[in-house]
Symmetry: C2
DNA sequence: CGTAAATTTGATGGTTTTCAAGCCATGTGG
DNA sequence: CCACATGGCTTGAAAACCATCAAATTTACG
């Protein structure tokens, strides 16, 4: 299905943090619940009813960041040749648009990978939040720093197997109801490949090899069968601390 | 390694922002100059008298971030196989350790690439700075967000020539006294290769090809001869700026 | 049910890495 | 002062890994 690039303003409605699916994990929850208590209103919730729906496009003015309430988004850029580069996937509780803080326009586009809902945090609202609760600003900074850590960890020089193994372990952690349970990936192999800097076919082949080894069950519903083996492969991606270079 | 710096005190001393070489570009300057005015003291300046000196090691408790006063640092991780991954180079005015904000330990090590000086901003000092001047916290957040943008831009799927071209343009911008003037890279080819996810030999070969095309002069003192050609090659990498992690 | 997209498998080729050797600059010790 | 060792840089040849091209199969969805 072709991606629906038009960003038609969806009918926003007021979200209640009380019934939010990410209650307890939302980075903005404290403040929003404050709002609920005081004004009976919280953040505007925006539905992205089907995959391919664009939340915002790269280069457009950045007036807000978002919290994922449900579903899955990807942030992407398009280079001169039209190739799509996936910069990250965002699941419920994640913030989208942190790379636009302090920038007048979004450096990447945010697109739904599956039907999703997001809560909008306008920069004006953030300003108010920060002056009222400086603690929130510190938390946002820590979120951004964490995302920076993750991005830097991903930018290493790894083999296809290392990257796919690390990705699958991360997806299981985020998507599987329980460790060892089956899970379905919301994004396509093409999206995964673009994220991992691989060709679609390479992702398939690596998954096939993992299945041959008995490390994972492949197909639509994936399952991790040998976490130790996958962790051993993925180990270099999560850097080993303490091997500091020599001081002199 | 050349010792082109005067002998520096082995112990930390108080730095004056008035005479700082990065005066006007320092992210912490306002606050520090405040300190100077009020207490006659600013941030402790730490000398890293020669290349290879470790400022902090990955995995150790993160009590501070740093501003580069002079020289050049790299931030690196070591994977299980002992391979070094260079996460970024940091020049005067850049902040080092932003990926440790909100983390109890440093996710990467910081090592001098050439004789350097840094100013220490302890987390305690940062706390005080933030409560006194919330504006500073917002600025730090924007610095971190910018670094996140750069890291994400770097994580794309680019060819060796695209990456080397983008890197060289970046280095010229930061190191050359004037556009088109010659400049010497403080880091080794090996460091560059680790930063760009390439083999050392590939970096050499690409530089050789650039020289053949007449785009750059190679050797110890580099010079950009055809910026347009290099920009054309590097275009997909660089919607904005930023191959070397920097926070200026 | 039929079309289009997504996934998977196979064959081939290209970019980059690896292995190996030579060159150059710098620093050291005789 | 020179020989020598060291580490960085450069270059060449072969191999590995992954991308590309192509096509079959499965899945999704109107």
């Amino acid at each position: 299905m072709p991606y629906d690039m038009q960003a038609t303003p969806a009918t926003t409605h007021v979200a209640s943090c009380i019934t939010c699916p990410v209650r307890g994990r939302c980075p903005a929850e404290e403040r929003l619940c404050d709002d609920v208590a005081r004004h009976g209103a919280a953040a505007p919730s925006i539905p992205l009813p089907h995959a391919g729906k664009t939340l915002y496009a790269a280069g457009t003015p950045a007036f807000a960041i978002y919290v994922v309430r449900a579903g899955c988004l990807k942030t992407v850029t398009h280079d001169a040749d039209g190739n799509e580069h996936v910069r990250g996937f965002h699941f419920p509780g994640d913030l989208v648009g942190l790379d636009a803080v302090g920038s007048s326009s979004y450096p990447s586009s945010a697109i739904a990978v599956s039907p999703s809902q997001v809560c909008r945090l306008s920069k004006g609202r953030l300003q108010g939040m920060f002056s009222a609760q400086p603690e929130q600003l510190r938390r946002l900074l820590e979120h951004t720093s964490r995302e920076l850590r993750d991005a830097l960890a991903m930018s290493g020089n790894y083999t296809a197997e290392q990257r796919v193994a690390a990705f699958m372990l991360e997806m299981e952690e985020r998507l599987a109801p329980a460790p060892g349970a089956g899970f379905a990936l919301p994004m396509t192999r093409r999206d995964i490949a673009n994220r991992l800097r691989l060709a679609t076919e390479t992702v398939c082949r690596v998954l096939g090899r993992f299945a041959e080894h008995g490390w994972m069950r492949g197909g639509a519903r994936l399952k991790v069968l040998d976490r130790e083996a996958l962790c051993a492969v993925a180990a270099p991606v999560n850097p080993a601390h303490g091997l500091a270079a020599m001081a002199a």
